[in-house]
């Protein structure tokens, strides 16, 4: 759990003396101080939980010296579980319900310590309808058995949220019972193999001690041999089953995988041992066989555990924090989509993506669903019609009522599977596939060759050699290095607020030749706005008209003007059209308003008005030119150092749609041999990128505004969409970043390059393992038992190395390696 800087455990003595600490959550009571008895509380939420727990005899929660309470979220949480009352919802969410007893599982990310388990398992004291509760700490879930006649899901959810353990409920994600069964089966197979292994070893002892030489002894040898054979049967039929089944399925499709050699090795050893016991009156190799299977299964179990711990599933924190504007008391509030609930009203503007299913309340929708379905013809929607997650609005602003919880994973999945990227033939995926395919065939050949060789020299060793070779070779590390390294890197970049579409983007970043920056909205942000006119200043009505038009758009200049005209009234717009690179034309009450470039609004080129870095936006109402807005921009601080760092490896260019106002200033900021081009239309920018990619075969990254540079971002090898305070979702991009974080761009690129090096190193390590292992096996120095240990060991160590090395590389570059990291 995040121990915030204000938490008691992080304070020194003088801090505690100076300000009181909340009895429940342990944080300093800075903003508010609530006094009750001898205790202090930082907010009403903590006080409520404290009183509730004491009332219900759960005061032992506070027996700990360090408060572990969680501050419940601010007001408003109780209304957000209303939807659980809807009929039919209960059936979707509960695991079991027979009318009198129901069982439901909730995921509760806030679970972080032993006190949480204690409190949650005493939930029955807080709600009489609850019969029992069971917490699974590592999965962060709680399973509640309750009486549906005495309480309901909504009560449970609100109770949990009220004490600080808000549940995350998503009926869309399926229940996962399968991993449970798979692990149980593995335990059973392991148990049987271990049982057989131990007993067969004991039975084999006399054989090793040469106690079978006399007549009595040799009879016993046969008996022990048969007993061993009997014990090995369950091993062959049950424990080793997964290897046989996998090998068989793969062979049927005329392919090879790593289970094929293992299966062959086991079968070879088995039949050889049967032959020896039956005809040669020898002990056979049943001890090796059962030991082999036992150790293989043990290795598999450790592998599963290690992989799941190192796994790179995107946790909800490494998702980009998509924000959306929610309408709250007639003003707009920026909230993350995770906080969206059915019934909320949100505003979606031109170019924005609809985060979740809803119904249009106001405005005309012209929704482009190409992101979801591939169809690029926009669908026209009127108020009252439904709209679905992933659609992009092209047109005026829409007011939408949300009917479904937003699923971040759904949107991320859409993003990841976005098929517009060109497939790079040389990428790591293909390399890994090719190596795996040849690997197994090579191993089989070596095994057969070694076997034949030893057969002529010393037959008894031959079988051992065959099995050892087949078992010790392992391409697992080769196949897993890339996914694990890239997955870890992806997660780390997420913690540092650079969100990539998928792992391939890291590869692309590492191989870039050139980087292109857009200017407006990316490197230069509008600061102060002035209106200049040759006639007179704007009337109230005109300000209202302009503001209403500009509010429908998300262009950074539009937003600057919106802020400037903050006192103007907002009127309803009948029609709205935004043309990228040119301007906006809209109609209110049959009055046409045009806002945009000089060419667009007046049909003429504008004069060079000032020598400072600014943008000019012209305005015409009812075809009469009214004046222009001059928007002074701030250049991103530290831009010069960012660019000089990047230009050490890549060529840098600036493409801007504006006029060349400040050429001197920009060429001072940009490094020596960079290209600075102005007055570029979106089409010009696209052409520039295409030329670099086509003729010069360069790999290009485009850094720009997600909405207005969509074409360039899509065409570039890597499209990085930069957003301001709210995180906009840009489907055409490969990566999302906030403007404030652009300063870390050189470190991000360095990190990506190092990740690729780490993959190469782990490839080599794995290769080395195999060469050394095979060397020993082929020369007869490796017993099957030892090879069974080495095999999983090699994959675990290589994968762990890859993941740890990635973490080290991150730290070296000054990046966070976990969400709570403080740099």
């Amino acid at each position: 759990m995040n121990k915030t800087p204000l938490h008691r455990s992080n304070l020194v003595q003088k801090d505690i003396v100076a300000k009181p600490v909340c009895k429940h959550c342990g944080e300093l009571c800075l903003d508010r101080l609530i006094h009750q008895g001898v205790d202090y509380f930082c907010c009403n939420g903590c006080l409520t939980v404290f009183n509730l727990l004491n009332e219900k005899d759960l005061g032992a929660y506070y027996a700990c010296s360090v408060p572990e309470g969680i501050k419940p979220e601010g007001t408003g949480f109780t209304s957000s579980f209303e939807w659980l009352d809807a009929p039919g919802i209960t059936d979707q969410i509960v695991d079991f319900n027979d009318g009198q007893t129901a069982v439901v599982s909730f995921e509760i990310p806030a679970i972080h310590c032993a006190s949480c388990i204690w409190l949650l398992e005493n939930l029955s004291k807080l709600d009489e309808g609850v019969k029992s509760t069971r917490v699974d700490f590592s999965a962060k879930t709680v399973t509640i058995t309750y009486n549906p006649e005495a309480t309901c899901l909504r009560n449970l959810a609100e109770l949990l949220a009220g004490i600080g353990y808000a549940p995350e409920i998503s009926p869309k994600d399926g229940r996962e019972h399968k991993p449970q069964n798979k692990l149980r089966r593995l335990y059973l197979q392991l148990g049987v193999a271990g049982f057989a292994f131990g007993n067969i070893m004991l039975l084999s002892f006399p054989g090793y001690l040469r106690a079978g030489s006399d007549h009595v002894g040799s009879g016993l040898t046969l008996m022990f041999g048969l007993l061993s054979l009997a014990l090995v049967f369950p091993v062959m039929l049950f424990s080793a089953q997964s290897y046989f089944v996998s090998a068989w399925q793969v062979l049927r499709r005329r392919m090879l995988n790593i289970d094929v050699p293992i299966a062959i090795g086991i079968i070879a050893l088995f039949f050889r041992s049967v032959y020896e016991v039956a005809f040669l009156n020898e002990a056979g190799y049943f001890d090796s066989l059962s030991g082999l299977v036992f150790l293989l299964l043990l290795g598999k179990m450790f592998q599963e555990k290690t992989y799941s711990r190192l796994s790179f599933e995107r946790t909800y924190r490494s998702f980009f924090p998509l924000t959306v504007k929610k309408i709250h008391n007639s003003s707009e509030l920026s909230i993350t989509i995770n906080d969206l609930h059915p019934g909320d009203r949100i505003v979606i503007r031109h170019g924005e993506v609809i985060p979740t299913d809803g119904v249009i309340m106001a405005g005309t929708g012209s929704i482009d669903y190409s992101f979801v379905t591939g169809e690029s013809d926009p669908a026209n929607k009127e108020p009252g019609e439904p709209v679905y997650a992933g659609g992009r609005q092209t047109g005026g602003a829409l007011e939408i009522e949300v009917i479904k919880e937003a699923s971040q994973s759904y949107l991320t999945r859409l993003w990841e599977h976005d098929a517009l990227k060109h497939k790079n033939e040389d990428n790591l995926h293909n390399l890994t596939d090719r190596i795996s395919r040849y690997f197994v065939s090579a191993v089989l050949l070596i095994a057969i060759a070694a076997f034949i060789f030893w057969l002529r020299l010393d037959a008894s060793i031959a079988f051992n050699v065959l099995t050892a070779v087949l078992i010790v070779a392992c391409p697992c590390a080769l196949a897993l290095s890339a996914p694990f390294t890239l997955g870890t890197a992806l997660r780390i970049l997420g913690y540092n607020r650079l969100y990539l579409k998928n792992a391939d983007v890291i590869e692309q970043i590492a191989q870039l030749d050139q980087i292109i920056f857009d200017k407006t909205g990316t490197l230069a942000i509008g600061k102060s706005v002035k209106f200049e006119s040759s006639d007179r200043s704007l009337t109230a009505i005109e300000s209202g008209l302009i503001r209403s038009v500009v509010r429908q758009s998300n262009h950074p200049l539009s937003r600057a003007i919106d802020d400037f005209l903050v006192d103007a009234d907002i009127l309803e717009i009948d029609s709205f059209e935004e043309i990228p690179g040119e301007g906006i034309v809209a109609i209110h009450d049959q009055i046409e308003i045009k806002v945009g470039s000089a060419a667009f609004v007046r049909g003429t080129q504008s004069e060079d008005l000032s020598d400072r870095e600014n943008a000019t936006v012209f305005v015409a109402i009812e075809n009469a030119y009214r004046g222009l807005f001059i928007i002074e921009s701030n250049i991103l601080p530290s831009l010069k150092s960012i660019l000089s760092q990047i230009s050490m490896r890549l060529k840098v260019a600036l493409l801007s749609g504006d006029r060349n106002n400040m050429h001197g200033e920009w060429s001072r900021i940009f490094p020596e041999n960079s290209e600075l081009l102005f007055e570029q239309s979106p089409h010009d920018k696209l052409e520039y990128i295409r030329k670099l990619q086509g003729v010069e075969k360069k790999r290009v990254m485009m850094v720009g505004d997600g909405l207005n540079d969509a074409g360039g971002l899509a065409a570039a090898d890597v499209g990085l969409a930069v957003s301001g305070d709210a995180t906009m979702f840009a489907p055409a991009s490969d990566a999302l970043i906030r403007r404030d974080d652009l300063g870390s761009l050189p470190e991000f690129m360095q990190f990506s390059r190092q990740s690729l090096s780490i993959i190469k190193v782990s490839f080599m390590l794995s290769f080395l393992y195999n060469v050394v292992g095979l060397g020993f096996a082929v020369t007869g120095n490796l017993s099957p038992l030892v090879s069974a240990i080495l095999m999983p060991l090699s994959s675990i160590s290589v994968v762990t190395f890859a993941v740890l090395a990635t973490g080290v590389a991150a730290r070296r570059n000054g990046l966070r390696v976990s969400p709570e990291d403080i740099l």
Binding site: G59, A60, A63, A114, I117, W118, E121, V135, D136, F137, S138, A139, Q180, L183, R184, Y187, L188, G191, V192, F195, G198, N199, L203, V216, L220, M223, L227
Partner: protein
Amino acid sequence: MSVIVVTILFSLLVALGFLLAFVWAVKSGQYDDKVTPSYRVLNDEKLTSKK
């Protein structure tokens, strides 16, 4: 010496008994969550000490 046959068979029987106990433990879900029970044991102590 041939009594060894009996002793071995009997010990195998005992070992089998243990194997069956293991199988039952896995099937009844005792191996599904190995982390929480360790906390749970400590928690009970906390409650009784307060009382």
